[in-house]
Symmetry: C2
Subunit: 347 residues, 2 copies
């Protein structure tokens, strides 16, 4: 492991100069700089990040807070892989890395007597590692705790959770617009009894999708029927149950908008169980465009989210806050209606 001191000796300069070459190249004369750069390259020098973080009081790492919700064990993020890839690639192009923080259950196990202000140990982790920023992925449990960070002044970007603070912002899909588009699409196809299965109460994207549903109905000049709005929890099972309830209404819906693909799949299964053909007897539209969507039969029409865009946008916002300080506007990613077979438009 070659150090800056060795480079300095070989070049006949001081360590300070070597350090400057890498941090403030403009303050070093061209000849010296090029000499140091050449020698450093030859010896494959790369600065020790621990030392750098120690003296700068800030590391080149961004924390990732993500955990399963222990209250809902089967839950998976619909597109974690794409998100991570986008995040990683955007961060790394600016020299940052992602540190996955162990939290929640993990930390609780190790450290039973945690403080209230930092119930899951994130804050302490953040300080210990001098993290440059934090990416917060909502798992349903920790959303309340997120605000503690947002207030702390550390650059924070949350995904799908509204977050405000001196250096906090968030990234989310334009859920309302996406849902409204789905409803308009169904209306265009001639449906006038359109129901919805919503996400869980208290979940921001779920609320926005419901709002979009209502807006879409209004735009299409359709009345709102309260008995056409049933609450789900994003899981498949709740889509199944919700659909069954909807089908039991008098004048049952001819179309349903599920606030997640998982629930849409559940609705599909419920329709099949009730002897209905999709899309002939019932049109179904989902939200997310998870991998399964194109695989079920009939293939699911759905509102696609910009999966890698989440990562890229989060990284962008975070880097902006790290450099400039000050919170950028929340990012609202556009969605895209992917028309497949379950809505009946493709026949």
């Amino acid at each position: 492991m070659v150090t800056a001191r060795e480079i300095a000796q070989l070049c006949g300069v001081s360590v300070a100069t070597v350090s400057r070459v890498f941090n403030r190249p403009a303050t070093v004369s061209t000849t010296t700089r090029e000499h140091v750069e050449r020698v450093a390259r030859e010896l494959d020098f790369s600065p020790n990040e621990s030392a750098r973080a120690l003296s700068r009081q800030r590391s080149a790492m961004v924390g990732l807070v993500w955990d399963t919700d222990h209250r809902r064990p089967g839950w998976r993020h619909p597109f974690l892989q794409d998100l991570l890839l986008g995040l990683k690639s955007a961060l790394s192009s600016h020299g940052y890395h992602l540190l996955m923080l162990a939290t929640s259950d993990d930390a609780r196990d190790r450290n039973p007597g945690v403080s209230l202000a930092d119930p899951i140990g994130y804050v302490s982790m953040t300080r210990r590692h001098h993290l440059a920023g934090l990416v917060l992925i909502d798992s349903g449990t920790d959303a309340e705790a997120f605000t503690a960070f947002a207030q702390s002044g550390l650059p924070c970007v949350a995904l799908d959770v509204a977050l405000a603070g001196p250096r906090a912002t968030y990234v989310t899909s334009d859920n309302a617009a996406g849902a409204a588009e789905a409803i308009r699409h169904l209306a265009t196809l001639g449906h006038d009894r359109i129901a919805t299965i919503t996400g869980p109460r208290g979940n921001a994207p779920a609320a926005a999708r419901t709002e979009g549903y209502l807006r879409g109905l209004a735009e299409a000049g359709l009345p709102v029927r309260e008995d056409f709005v049933v609450t789900g929890d994003f899981y498949r099972e709740s889509g199944f149950v919700g659909m069954r309830r909807l089908l039991a209404r008098k004048d049952p819906p001819t179309a349903v908008f599920a606030a997640s693909d998982e629930m849409a799949v559940g609705a599909l299964l419920a329709a099949r169980a009730a002897g209905l053909r999709v899309p002939a007897d019932l049109a179904v539209v989902g939200f997310d465009d998870i991998e399964v969507a194109s695989l079920v039969d009939p293939a699911l029409t759905t509102v696609a989210q910009d999966k890698p865009g989440f990562g890229t946008a989060a990284a962008g916002a975070l880097l902006a806050m790290i450099d400039n300080s000050g919170a950028p506007e929340p990012v609202r990613l556009p969605t895209k209606l992917v028309v497949r077979d379950s809505c009946g438009a493709t026949r």
Copy 2:
């Protein structure tokens, strides 16, 4: 941010003693230790990891090498989320964290003139951050590069790639046994013309699954037909194409074992396109038990891998190497045949 020095002053001891309390408690008298521990807890002291890593020459972080294969852009790890959760939780219970290293394309972009010995910048990352170990997830591209690490003496655990070295080992499913079980199951159901669609050449799990296929045939007393082995690449499309080719044989197979669920789904689609009913005319068995498997119609019988087990086993092996030095035996996780509808056993 409270430091060890402040704790020391408050307790009337030296920093060295404070440090010892946390690192070698046995060498400190009980009274002193308890005093320091109490004060530290009250002030919410936690040691600065950068400083600690710097002086110890080793950080409490484990690097995660994972990347998409840029030659196969659509590829997703079949169960990255479970794996990460298992890994994270097992590592964190020993105080380690996961650092996602940006590699491959990312690094290449930033650093065009990389060395041959470290084509993708992992080694340099590892040194810079004083990583305690490395978890290597095969993306298909980098497997060759992995051996470089294995030789370096740094604790390394690879997933699904055979890796050997002074402190290197790997975790994989018992692919051969799983495949053999699938074949025996099909044979038990009366099939005697069982084909397979393999994974890509050069991929270790793929090879093991083919080996298991052959072993299964042998155990069932069935002959091997070379025209019943077609090569795929784990992607759905190749399952579709492979199945079409198999169905074109004279005496086409009545059952097919696909080395991945994705390919099994492709095979399902090909069978449907050819007007065959599954499982009546053709039995299909896959491998992995990805989420989609239970959703397709008919639901896919498949060889399930122990998804969180991968993470836990990898973490266990890594921690053992970090503590003891010396490479533990490779871990071969048992698989489990999940019988659903596509094999015809459930009618």
